[in-house]
Amino acid sequence: MIARIHLRLLAAIPIALAVSALVFFLVEASPGDPSLLLLDPNASPHANDAQRAILGLDRPVAERFGIWMRNTLTLDFGRSFVDQVPVRDKIAAALPSTLLLSSVSLAIAFGLGLAAALASASRPRSALDHVLSAIALVLQSTPIFWLAWMAIAWLAVGWGWFPTGGTVSLTSTLEPGLHLLDRLHHLALPALVLGVAFAGEVSRFARGALVDTLEEDFVRASRARGASRRRALLRHAFPASLHSTISLLGLSIPYLVGGAVLVEEIFDWPGMGRLLVGAMVAKDYPVVAAGVVALATLAVVGNLLADLLAARLDPRVGVP
């Protein structure tokens, strides 16, 4: 089983390579000299000549492309213009934070979204159903960044329940137990904002899947055995509809990753998003290029994992 999981995740590699190729062409499409983007403006001309040779910047496109792709495969993305740190290291440092934020947000979105969907499906076409659907619609239409700032203004600044950003308080001389709590405290608001924003999607998918499943014969058969509406919904329709919901969710993972980028920037959360945006502002192009590939890969892997989970839950494929 573990072997099978790994095998399917390998499918992420060609996509990561494709994204890297895409970035290569974006750089090539830059107005002005593309090679200028890849050379550190602060380095000495001597160093840059060496870099030119390494990256093959004076060679024809095909060769440059080959070198670029080879570098991608070896995870060699050069060094940051800002501090000479290898780009790979910067990404490795930022990735776990993004994973943490994304996972917790996803969990929150799932919890809220499923609860809303169950409430809706248990009373279809009722006032509650319409209200919940309307809330989901409006939530999906509202810019996340506005929600984030409202949350900061009301919950962080206004009521002081949460810190306004970062990962740790300045008073970092806390014992390990409290330290963890402090970290969670800082994670709470960004994860909540992203989670609530994403919950709309979840509830929409889940409600649709539930309503469809409720019309299946086996649900009616359970009611024929005396099961109440509630039992039929929770014990029969809900579990059987999960694989469909998760499969749809998988398609939205890229959107979640985009949201994470945004939320990280607003809350100063030290993940890939803040790294990417910071690099863009600083014109630190090697980091931008690698960041794009890394984030795309993260989204792809998330998507694949969701598909695997959905397949596992699919009654036709078999639930152990």
């Binding site: 279809p124 019309e215 299946e216 014969d217 086996f218 649900v219 009616r220 058969a221 359970s222 009611r223 024929a224 055995r225 005396g226 099961a227 109440s228 509406r229 039992r231 014990r235 029969h236 579990p239 059987a240 009654p315 036709r316 078999g318 639930v319």
Partner: protein, 234 residues
């Protein structure tokens, strides 16, 4: 009379699937409902069980179970009756079993919901019902998931789940279509035995003329939602 249906009119969406159907059945009897597909046979059963699909509605008429009016009855009242007093065997056995839940849990659901038995007693009754329905290795399939079973086996599991609580009325919607001849006669034989031994009333919805002729005392023929009743030669 266990069940008395009078002048039932049922609407599904914008069409009248049943347009003035009457039927009555007493303990131990078997009434067959025949007709082409689309004539409303399954809808009749669903209406009596109170399980019409979304958009379905009883517009007119009366359905009395043991003298109690079911049309307009509350959900809780109907939940009480379903499984324990009235049961239904659905047409497509593959579709009528929860694909994720294990066989044992599904067959025992009625017992669990109505608090009729628990634990080992429940298991015992489940095994008994499966054996009655013609499943040889009843214990072995308790932990199985339906899609791993053959069509015939699924049909028998569904039957077991319908009779496990010894209901008084059973709607059997094409109970023999998925089965080969030897099993067919076994199942029909079982229904006959239950009728004689427990007074089970069976509404047999079927294409199988042979089965109808052999088992039904009366036949209700539906054509486009309307009924013509005739007696069958016993």
């Amino acid at each position: 009379m266990i069940l008395e249906v009078r002048d039932l009119r049922v609407r599904l969406g914008s069409t009248f699937v049943l347009d003035g159907v009457s039927l009555s059945i007493g303990a131990g009897e078997c009434v067959a409902v025949v007709g082409d597909s689309g004539s409303g046979k399954t809808t009749l059963a669903l209406a009596c069980m109170g399980l019409l699909p979304r958009g379905g509605r009883v517009v007119e008429g009366s359905i009395r179970f043991d003298g109690r009016e079911l049309v307009g009855a509350g959900e809780r009242e109907l939940d009480e009756l379903r499984g324990r007093s009235m049961a239904m065997l659905f047409q497509e056995p593959a579709a009528a079993l929860d694909p994720i839940q294990r066989v044992g849990a599904q067959v025992s659901e009625t017992l669990e919901v109505h608090g009729l038995a628990r634990g080992p007693e429940s298991r015992g009754r489940v095994v008994e019902a499966l054996r009655d329905a013609g499943v040889p290795n009843a214990e072995r399939i308790l932990g199985e998931v339906p899609h791993r079973l053959s069509g015939g086996l699924r049909q028998r599991v569904a039957l077991a789940s319908a009779i496990v609580a010894r209901p008084r009325l059973l709607f059997a919607d094409e109970p023999t279509t998925a089965l080969d001849p030897p099993l067919r006669s076994h199942v029909l034989g079982l229904l006959g035995r239950l009728r004689r031994e427990t007074g089970l009333a069976v509404v047999l919805i079927s294409h199988d003329r042979d089965a109808v002729a052999r088992h039904a005392q009366r036949v209700v023929a539906l054509r486009r939602g309307r009924a013509a009743e005739a007696a069958a030669t016993p």
